[in-house]
Every structure is written in structure tokens, then in C-alpha cells.
């Protein structure tokens, strides 16, 4: 019984792989261990220099978001980048893949940009948005488009 449980555990541990690859668009920087920010498709991207197109593919137990994002981040760190932007994810039942652009911020150092918390870190609320501009007070005058 113990032996079969051990075998099952070892099989389940070995049933997930994550593969990453990249295509260079410009010269990479030196590898580092700084945090790398992840920006999903559609979110605004600060001024940056694209370094590589990166892809992470997870299979089996690694076909999930944490492994894909961690794969993209590790590849960006290896290329000396500050962030992975325009990240898109596709998921099947046994495989998942994510793509993005590994970039360096146009204005170094990237300390001005708040890095995304690492996976597993406690969640913190985002900073408050700036206040909206004051709307003009309503008047009794007719709207301009009603005048002929």
C-alpha cells in the first residue's frame, strides 16, 4: 500500500512540464533576479523597449496560470528584462500556453514602477485612483444642440 502510494505520488509529481522559448527582437541584457512585472493584454504599457517575444507552455499539472506566468517571468529575468507585457493565455484540458513581450523600461531604473507581487504573496489592495475632475454645475440654460 505504502509502495503504491509512493509510486502514485512520484508519478503525479513528474506529470507536469513547463517549457519556455523566446525570439529576440533586440539585444538582451544581463540576467538578474529582480522582480519582473506582468502586464496582461489590454492594460496600458509604460514606455518600454521590446527585447524578445516569449512563450511559456505548460503540460499536465503545470498547465495553469501560476506556472505559465512564472515561466514568462523567469525567461524575462534571463533576458535582463523588467516586465512581460501584452500577456495572453490560452488553456486546453491538458496543455496551456502564454505569450508576451519581454521588455525593458525606457527609463531605468524600474523602481518607479510598482512590481507585481510574487505568486503566493499576500494580496494587497491597489493604490487609489486619482480623483475625477469636478463636473460643471447644472444650469437652466438650454443645451447648445437645441438652439437653431
Amino acid at each position: 500500500m505504502k509502495r503504491s502510494l509512493l509510486l502514485l505520488a512520484s508519478l503525479s509529481l513528474g506529470c507536469g512540464t513547463t517549457a519556455v522559448q523566446h525570439h529576440l527582437l533586440s539585444a538582451p541584457g544581463a540576467p538578474h533576479a529582480r522582480p519582473v512585472r506582468t502586464i496582461l493584454e489590454g492594460d496600458p504599457v509604460p514606455s518600454s523597449q521590446p527585447v524578445a517575444l516569449v512563450q511559456a507552455t505548460g503540460r499536465g499539472l503545470n498547465a495553469d496560470l501560476p506556472h505559465l506566468i512564472e515561466g514568462l517571468r523567469a525567461e524575462a529575468q534571463h533576458l535582463g528584462c523588467d516586465a512581460v507585457v501584452q500577456v495572453r493565455i490560452a488553456r486546453g484540458s491538458s496543455a496551456a500556453t502564454a505569450t508576451g513581450f519581454a521588455v525593458r523600461w525606457a527609463s531605468h531604473p524600474g523602481a518607479a514602477v510598482q512590481s507585481t507581487p510574487a505568486i503566493g504573496a499576500p494580496w494587497a489592495p491597489p493604490p487609489p485612483l486619482p480623483a475625477a475632475p469636478e463636473a460643471p454645475a447644472p444650469t437652466d440654460a438650454p443645451p447648445p444642440w437645441s438652439a437653431h
Partner: protein, 143 residues
């Protein structure tokens, strides 16, 4: 069927089959009235922003599985065909496609007088990660 005709048929079908089964595909369409010859020089691959002074020549797409380099190379080849010297990638879309794969499996032969190797073939679904690039062919003249 004469041997010569069979050979001709095989030679015709082989490139068609290999094109249909290729892991990387790409296509393009001109969007400008400016028709340029095939560009044999260097092509710069760009993302996130256009180079200053670039003229758009056409729309380009490429997709494939496996190597990212092969997909980008197919994209660049289409840009060259439109006469562009800048391959602008507008979007990268990952897709997980499900395809049927034929699997052959050895099995014991029952009811046969002689022990011979038996095998069975069946189709099994397989998920394949595919990357799609969509962008434009641009031309930037040297200053």
C-alpha cells in the same frame, strides 16, 4: 497505370501534402497601391511601436506550432514578399488546438495459428500549442 504517370502523380502530390501538413503557415495581402519587389535585404522585427516615417505596405499573419523562431521567420518572409524592410507585429495570440493523432500499438494475437506481430491503430486527441502573429509589412527608407 503506367509507371511514368504514377511517378508524375506522386511528384505532384508530395509537395501538396507537405504544404498541407506544414507546422507553420503564413499569408499576406497588400493594403497599399505601392507595389514593391521582393526585399532581399535585412528585415527588422518590431513590436509595440511603429518606426518613424514608416509606410504600410500590407497586412501579414503567420501561425505555427513548436518553434517561435520558425513562426517569426515565416512572418518575415511574407514581409519580404511585399517589399517591406520592417516586420511590425501587432498582436500575438496563443491558441491550444486539438488535433487527432494516429497511434499504433502492439497487441497480442489471439486465434492465430502462428505467433505473429499484431498491432492496432487508433486516433487520439492531442492538444497542440499554436502561436498566431498578426501585423503589418512596413517600409522605412534610409535617411
Amino acid at each position: 497505370m503506367p509507371m511514368r504517370a504514377l511517378r508524375a502523380l506522386l511528384l505532384t502530390l508530395l509537395p501538396l501534402c507537405s504544404a498541407g501538413c506544414a507546422a507553420t503557415r503564413a499569408s499576406s495581402i497588400p493594403t497599399s497601391s505601392e507595389l514593391l519587389p521582393y526585399h532581399r535585404g535585412a528585415v527588422t522585427v518590431r513590436a509595440l511601436s511603429d518606426p518613424p516615417g514608416a509606410r504600410e505596405l500590407g497586412a501579414v499573419e503567420a501561425s505555427g506550432e513548436g518553434s517561435l523562431d520558425a513562426v517569426v521567420e515565416a512572418f518575415v518572409e511574407q514581409v519580404r514578399g511585399l517589399g517591406g524592410n520592417v516586420a511590425r507585429i501587432d498582436s500575438v495570440t496563443p491558441v491550444v488546438e486539438t488535433r487527432m493523432r494516429q497511434v499504433s500499438q502492439a497487441m497480442p494475437c489471439f486465434g492465430m495459428r502462428f505467433q505473429a506481430g499484431c498491432s492496432q491503430s487508433y486516433l487520439t486527441p492531442e492538444e497542440v500549442p499554436v502561436v498566431r502573429l498578426v501585423g503589418r509589412a512596413l517600409r522605412v527608407d534610409a535617411p
